[in-house]
Amino acid sequence: MHPMIRTSRRRRRSDGAARRVFQLAALFTFVITVLIIGTLAVDAWGFLSKLADTPDGLGSLTAIGWFPRRGLYDIGTLVVGTLIVTGIAMLVAVPLGLGAAIFLSEYARPRLRRYVKPLLEILAGIPSVVLGYFAIAVINPDIVVNLFSNASKAFTLMAAGIGVGILTIPIIASVAEDALRAVPHALREASSGLGAKRSQTTFRVIIPGAISGIVAALILGMSRAIGETMVVAIAAGAVGGGLFQLTPLQPGQTMTGAMAALGFGSDQVAGDNLAFESLYFVGLLLFVMTFLLNYLSDRLVTRFREVY
């Protein structure tokens, strides 16, 4: 064999070592994932079977509200709270995120892009705890209470939702922008060549061409909004529990908020260990929801890659 193309033994050995390191990392990730899901599932099941043995049985999963200390586990309260916060977050993040994406990909000159893109990244990098305090210090008193005089003065689901929305903007903007920019340049030329204005090209060719990627961006943003915890824990206000209610202008409890409260132990009262265990049940539910959303977005992203 020609000396130049023969692999040295040392090289082969170091390749093998690198390979094993990566394999180990991959295995580790896999094991952790399985452990988490397994623990969640087992403990959720444990909670449910213990709950079934209490006097009220599984009936306490529907009650006047979520008060784990009192044995009231109305899961509907948490789901509705989560939907309200997520809905408001999306109302904020979808127009702003998509708007930013369209602006960056279709309108901004490269120089402006160079300045605006890092700004989005800064926004993405704001710790959510900071936004949580921003929500109670600014968003609730200066926006929510100003707009709706009947809003609760300190904590509202709406302030939390707006805060979560701000955190969601950069995700939607960056994924949607990638999708828009992936539309071939040839289609822009085709459209302009036929005398289309830029807005016509954008709305009739580029956005339809990127639609699955845009939908994926929205779903990704939504699963981020559903999973966001810190802002809600700080700004939604229902630390102990929450009554079932439908207005965003009152404090409320979300799935993540309830879990955080249980996790902090602020809710743990001696004698009622079921309260803590309900954490796993809520966690599993949350996991299933975000998993489904991520799976859906994955499917859409693959499909949108196949278009061209």
Binding site: R109, A186, R188, A190, G193
Partner: protein, 299 residues
């Protein structure tokens, strides 16, 4: 039918005003051109195009006559596409591109201050090297231009335009039964004829074609060449081609571009060597460089 929706001038707010013919010359079928207006559809005067600091073409003076097929030939990188893209202001889409000199369209400077590039492109259609149908149905591809220009909105009106355009592009018989299926499912040659039909649908005055056959097989190429000859009574066509036989077969006039290399700076600049009747270019060109190129002794 087009008179209704489409403004007849490509100038914003009639700013040109006093300059008599300029607003109505866009389509000479609809308006008689003054006899003393030059018969040229395009005339470039000392056209220079830069990409950033790089000068791609220098001092091009070229005329394109009405209802003729003008071929632009020359070695790769000599600026054929660059010049072609000045005729419908497509270079505007390139951030770094800058155009210097004048490009007259029926006597009106396309790069004048009040000219709307969007209006220019409605009159000057472009067919690209690679077929670029929209990922939409065949029908929607053709209807795209008429829809955005407001030329037709009702399905019935659009259907008339779609059929007429597809017939002109010799594609109607092949696709009339699947107008609602995706254009992406067509063969490359069909897609390119679809792009021609799509360009024709907005009733342009000129068709610019940048190597429209380079990604097609010989049969599809022949069909497009036949098509060009059929439609040239209605349109003025400018085609860029690398295929010398094609230029000789289809064009009335041929412009030969070349690359001039500056000895000191090594800068490569495109220049127009000569433009003349096609027979002349291919038999007795005035310039040695043209002769070497067309006889294949280039270099």
């Amino acid at each position: 039918m087009t008179e209704s929706g489409k403004p007849m001038n490509i100038v914003n707010e009639n700013v040109v005003g006093s300059d008599s013919g300029l607003q109505t010359i866009a389509s000479s079928e609809r308006t008689e051109v003054d006899t003393d207006t030059p018969p040229f559809v395009f005339e470039t005067i000392d056209l220079n195009v830069y990409y950033g600091d790089f000068r791609a073409v220098r001092d091009v003076n070229l005329t394109v006559a009405k209802n003729e097929i003008t071929a632009l030939i020359g070695p790769s990188g000599c600026g054929k596409s660059t010049v072609l893209r000045c005729f419908d202001r497509m270079n505007d889409l390139i951030e770094t591109a800058r155009v210097d000199g004048r490009v007259l369209y029926h006597g009106l400077d396309l790069y004048g201050p009040d000219v709307d590039a969007v209006e220019v492109r409605r009159r000057v259609g472009m067919v690209f090297q690679k077929p670029n149908p929209f990922p939409k149905s065949i029908f929607d591809n053709i209807a795209y231009g008429p829809r955005i220009s407001g030329m037709a909105k009702k399905k019935a009106d659009l259907a008339v335009i779609v059929e007429r355009s597809l017939r002109k592009a010799a594609l109607w018989d092949e696709v009339k039964d699947r107008l609602s299926s995706s254009a992406l499912g067509m063969s490359g040659g069909q897609q390119q004829r679809l792009c021609i039909a799509r360009a024709i649908a907005v009733d342009p005055d000129v068709l610019l074609m940048d190597e429209p056959c380079s990604s097609l097989d010989p049969i599809a190429t022949t069909r497009i060449e036949e098509l060009m000859k059929e439609i040239k009574d209605e349109y003025t066509i400018v085609i860029v081609t690398h295929n010398m036989q094609q230029a000789a077969r289809v064009s009335d006039r041929t412009a030969f571009f070349s690359v001039e290399v500056n000895e000191q700076s090594d800068a490569r600049t495109g220049i127009l060597v000569e433009a003349d009747a096609t027979e002349k270019i291919f038999s007795t060109p005035a310039d040695d460089r043209t002769e070497r190129y067309v006889t294949g002794r280039f270099g």
